[in-house]
Amino acid sequence: MVNRGAMPMDKNTSVLIVDDYKTMLRIIRNLLKQLDFENVEEATDGQEALAKMRAGNFGLVISDWNMAPMTGLDLLKEVRADARLKSTPFIMITAESKTENVVAAKAAGVSNYIVKPFNAETLRGKIEKVMANA
């Protein structure tokens, strides 16, 4: 069971999770459910995610990096360049663990960065942090 933490979070927020591995989408969805986030949608690459974001109203994006055709970093740049979407909290969850990746993501405006494999407590902590700053 994930420690739900003391800081209040708006659990009704729509969350978009983006990963080209269906198993990872399922894992993140289940971990979010444990945190009482039930309003979750999925996309399998940056392009699909961007289309869903432009059509919808998401309060949090949790995205992988290495996807085709559009990577998570390129999605992040598109989001930050979009007048309506630019302030959406954006967490990168990725196996990319080189310093240059973290630096590039930060430069592009990532809200937080989680390296795979990750634990549920790390996910909870980062979500709490980015939503508190949103």
């Binding site: 069971m1 994930v2 990963d19 591995y21 269906k22 198993t23 990872m24 399922r26 894992i27 289940n30 971990l31 444990q34 940056g46 990096w65 290495n66 559009m70 990577t71 998570g72 970093l73 390129d74 999605l75 740049k77 196996a95 990319e96 663990s97 080189k98 310093t99 240059e100 990746n101 973290v102 630096v103 590039a104 930060k106 937080n112 960065y113 989680i114 390296v115 795979k116 494999p117 990750f118 634990n119 549920a120 790390t122």
Partner: protein, 207 residues
């Protein structure tokens, strides 16, 4: 012969012929007795010529079609099957986890907490399917690069009098490549990447 050298080289290869011609030219240019160093150098050159000729024969006799048409495609198929099997198994495990969470909701209390905690750990562990999948993807790319190189080397050295060698493979076109694609390296080997603690520190340094 295309370069106008004598026909019927002793080992049937242009390079062997050229080496022998070069040795003869050196010998012809020398006057008087060979010194020990010169004799040794010539012997080395002749040995090198034989080694080159032998290597060429060995490359020519390689059944490269086995590698490019059978071994590597078969290996990549096997690796793809591994990814499929791990995905299927992971989905089965996740099915069971979701069932267990339903049970936890019914039993309540301390047992429910213990059950939910165990399920969370299984969820965390199931990320292996993504990470191993990405690692296998890297191996498939490496195999395809090896396949291309084997074909290049064989065409270049293995067919005496055959078709002219193809040009060197050009690097992947980078025009239009996004930063996200350029930096998509996949998982690092243990110890090579930064840890979550390092990342947290790095991000804090920006703030």
């Amino acid at each position: 012969m295309p370069d106008g050298h004598a026909a019927n080289p002793p080992d049937g290869s242009p390079e062997g012929e050229r080496i022998e011609t070069a040795v003869r030219a050196v010998l012809g240019s020398m006057s008087g007795d060979l010194t020990v160093v010169e004799a040794s150098l010539l012997a080395e050159l002749e040995g090198l010529g034989r080694t080159v000729a032998r290597a060429k024969q060995e490359i020519a006799s390689l059944r490269v079609d086995d590698i490019t048409l059978s071994h590597i495609p078969s290996a990549t198929d096997e690796l793809d099957a591994i990814v499929d099997h791990t995905a299927q198994a992971t989905n089965e495990i996740l099915d069971v986890c979701e069932t267990l969470e339903g049970v936890a909701g019914r039993v309540g209390g301390v047992e429910a907490e213990a059950l939910a905690s165990a399920v969370t750990r299984i969820y965390e562990a199931c990320s292996f399917q993504d990470i191993t999948g990405q690692r296998i993807g890297k191996v498939v790319q490496a195999l395809k690069a090896i396949e291309a190189r084997v074909e290049q080397v064989t065409l270049r050295f293995g067919v005496p009098g055959g078709a002219p060698p193809p040009p060197e493979p050009q690097p992947e076109p980078v025009e239009g490549e996004t930063e996200g694609r350029r930096l998509a390296h996949g998982p690092q080997l243990p110890g090579a990447g930064v840890s979550q603690a390092d990342i947290d520190k790095l991000l804090a340094d920006f703030d």
